[in-house]
Amino acid sequence: MMRGWIQRRRLTQAAAIFLIVGLFALGSIALWSFTETTRTAASVRQMNAVSDNWGLVSQSVGLEYETLVDFLKADDEMGRAPLLSAIGSARPVLEWLKQNDDQPALANLDATYETYTTTLWQLVQAQHVNDPDAVNLWAQQAEMASSSLRRQVSSMVSRERLSVDVYLSKVEARNKRARVAASIIGGTDLALALICTFVLLAYQRGIERQADESKHQAAHDNLTGIANRALLNQRVEQALVTATARGGSVGLLLLDLNKFKEVNDTLGHHQGDLLLQTVATRLGEASRDSDTVARLGGDEFAVLLPEVANPAALAAVAQRLLTHLQRPAELDGVTVDVRASIGCSVFPEFSADAGELLQHADIAMYEAKRGRLGTKVYDPNTDSQTTEGLGLLAEFLAALDTNQLILHYQPKVYAATGEIAGVEALVRWQHPRRGLLQPAEFLPAIEESELVVQTAAHILRMAVSQARRWSDAGLDLPVSVNISARCLADLKLPETVGALLAEYGVRPSRLTLEFTEVALTGDPEEVVAQLGRLRAYGVRVSIDDFGTGYSSLSYLGTLPLDEVKIDRSFIAEVTDERSHAIVQAIARLGQAFHWDIVAEGIEDQSTCTAAADAGCTVLQGFAIHDPVPAEDLAAWVAAGARARVTGVHHAQIG
């Protein structure tokens, strides 16, 4: 297609250039023709003037001869007088011809005329002295001169006429050639003009087609082919006008995929795109022809229903859509569960215009997402709370800048000795109005947002700097930090961690990064490579909440790990025989791979004992110690952590 266009463009260029040159040639021929005609006219006029003057010479010579004859016959002076008048009568004309005719023979003729004139004067002189013999002699010589003159003039006239003929023949030949050339060039130009016309028409059709395509593209989403935000807005406006006129209602569904970022980050953008296309297809399938399905951007979709009975009917439609949507999707061999949240708003109920309709659907969608409701119809009573929720991210961003985040540290101890093995950093938000917020109150929203990477870096910096301060205070406390799946996908993470450790002079082995098992379910090669890069810096890697995912043992064996933290759901029931066996199996697996096996969620003595018996090497939980601020932990350790831990351990056991 492109090649065709390029070739057509070259064809047009070539045709246009040939056409221009051809037109220039035609113009040149026309100009030449005009000039030639003008020159020919001037030349012919000049030649005619010359011919006319030769005619005059011929007349004068003839007249002189006739008057000579009359002179010889005349009996008196009156009869002889005409010759006297005629002698030299051709002289002025000859002078003109000498100026205007370039015939070489003219000089000869001029000399002969001079001889003729001289002879005639000699004759007149002889007559004057009454010498008949001399008169006769000069008359005969004059006749010879006259004969010579007349024949020369005749030759000259003939030559002049021939010159005109030859000149006109040449002009005619030149004109004929010019006509042939003009015909050929004109024909070629006509053909080229036709080619240009056809090509231009083709261009015009192409441009119109492109304009249609551009118009379509401007109103539709490139990835999914459904309407985009602009077209949706346009349709919403139209629908509102119609509904207002008819007294009807318009429904708007706003849909946002759950965990789409994780799909994108773990499976890659290609799979993410496929998921979006699948969603678009399913929305289309579940919608009426009169509805408009649109993609607003990212993983956000909308469905406009121009005619809807009431909010309840809209909610039913939303539920039907959600049911149709929430089926597993096959994305190039990978099966993904599709989950979404749908917000519904209705015009004119609570929404007076298009802007409000969209805003209210957005708020409802946020409510649905936050409350994991699936679908939610806009309720003005919850609007203020939702608005608050929407402002969370802005506040959190400010919190990062103003150091409102703080870390609490929960110690981990060796099961065998009770000695402190390290601490896990757990983030809290010292909110200026709402007080100390637990992670569950803000982290889910953060992890869904673009702030997640920035937040991880911030927490890492806090933990590493604290490790530095402890080290400076004589405490060698390894620190664990939880890292989300999206941060694991961040290729700059190893570099960030390495730079922090270098900046604060903390030994890499004193930092453990914990990733949930779910976070490690992305592309195995990329996960292994990323963990390898982290370990290359000397950082320890831990798998958190182990047992909640679906990692195969073979995949687990390929992971470069230092530690496995068994999920608290197993530890809580470790006293049961079945859970005990599972924990024991994991512990043996860890032993085989030289992993530390951490039992988290140690809440009481029996759990502590059972976990230790099952082979867990490190214990963590409220039974050991609550998460506490760094200074409290330092005080606890300074007060004799090992003895106290053991004491606490024994006290709880006892």
């Binding site: 260029q13 070489p104 000089a107 000399a111 002699l137 050339a181 070629t188």
Partner: protein, 349 residues
């Protein structure tokens, strides 16, 4: 080169080529071994010499059938008829000597269209004839040579009259000789007045009468010169009047040579035989080998004849064989160094 410039150049070249193709054509020339020469004045010395020279030149090449023909006296219309007949019988090439080239031009143009190679002999062809080769003297130069020869016999301070006659006023060749005579006298003898050229008629009897009259009318004239073969009349008048004036003509006829030897005449030879021989050889070469005729004017130089060198000419013209041998040497000289003798046609330069 940028594409747009390349396209522009290509377009110009193509259109220019198209235009040129439309503007030029080259007729295919058939080849035949039958060639001819047609002259006026075949019974007069100059015409006969041209025909003899042409025949000899063609035979020197060989392989051709030659026809040499013409009108007895100067008869333009009859020559045209003969020429047109030759275009049918002798398409291998036709050489023509005419005193009326304009009259012959249409027939020559028609022959050229048929592809017959043409040569104009001694007289410039008419521009409309399409004849591209002329073998001829420089007639102005011949006139100059004759005048210089005469002037060499007169004191530079001479004053008086010199009378010039011509048998065919208006004939370009003779007019040019008259022009050369006058120009040279004006240069060498500025005190002399040149009369004429006056019509001294072709017919020998009338020519003799004309010269008698002119001599009588201009009894004090220093010299009487004819532009053509008027030696016989001039010599006769000089002898009967026992005149001391000088007589001059352009001829190499045997009687004229004897008159030169006797001191009654000074003359210049136009070398008509050599002219004919050059043309004959070129026509024969074309007919037999396809060697194309040169384009332009092959100038055959004239030779002044005085008492000092007249014996050489008498010896040369003692027989046709010796005349042809002389002309053959000159022809070889000319054709072997053609560049030296080749000029643009009059009016083409």
């Amino acid at each position: 080169m940028k594409p747009i410039i390349r396209y522009g150049v290509a377009a110009t070249v193509v259109l220019a080529g198209t235009s040129l193709a439309a503007c030029s054509s080259e007729p295919d020339r058939p080849r035949s071994n039958k060639i001819a020469v047609v002259v006026v004045g075949a019974k007069q010395g100059f015409g006969a010499e041209m025909m003899d020279g042409f025949t000899a030149g063609a035979e020197q090449v060989g392989g051709v059938e030659v026809r040499a023909t013409g009108t007895d006296l100067v008869d333009g219309p009859r020559q045209v008829e003969i020429f047109e007949g030759l275009t049918a019988t002798h398409p291998g090439g036709i050489t023509a000597f005419s005193f009326t080239p304009d009259m012959l031009a249409p027939a020559q143009a028609a022959a050229d269209k048929k592809g017959i190679p043409l040569i104009a002999l001694d007289t410039p062809p008419s521009p409309s004839s399409n004849v591209e080769l002329m073998v001829a003297n420089d007639n102005v130069e011949l006139g100059r040579q004759l005048a210089a020869t005469i002037a060499g016999q007169l004191p530079p301070t001479s004053k008086g009259t010199i009378v010039v006659g011509t048998q065919s006023p208006g004939a370009q060749v003779l007019d040019q000789r008259a022009q050369g005579i006058r120009d040279e006298f004006a240069k060498l003898l500025p005190g002399v007045t040149v009369l004429g050229p006056l019509d001294t008629k072709q017919d020998p009897g009338q020519n003799l009468k004309a010269w008698r009259l002119l001599v009588k009318a201009n009894k004090n004239a220093l010299a009487f010169l004819g532009t053509g073969e008027e030696a016989e009349s001039l010599v006769e008048v000089r002898r009967e009047t026992k005149g001391s004036w000088l007589a001059g003509a352009v001829t190499s006829a045997p009687d004229a040579l004897l008159a030169v030897k006797d001191g009654d005449l000074l003359t210049v030879s136009a070398e008509y035989r050599t002219e004919g021989m050059v043309a004959g050889r070129l026509q024969a070469r074309y007919a037999t080998t396809g060697e194309r005729l040169p384009t332009g004017w092959i100038m055959v130089p004239g030779l002044p004849i005085t008492e000092e060198n007249v014996n050489e000419f008498l010896t040369r013209d003692a027989s046709t064989t010796s005349s042809n041998a002389w002309s053959r040497t000159m022809t070889d000289t000319i054709l072997n160094d053609l560049k030296k003798y080749l000029r643009p046609l009059p009016g083409d330069s």
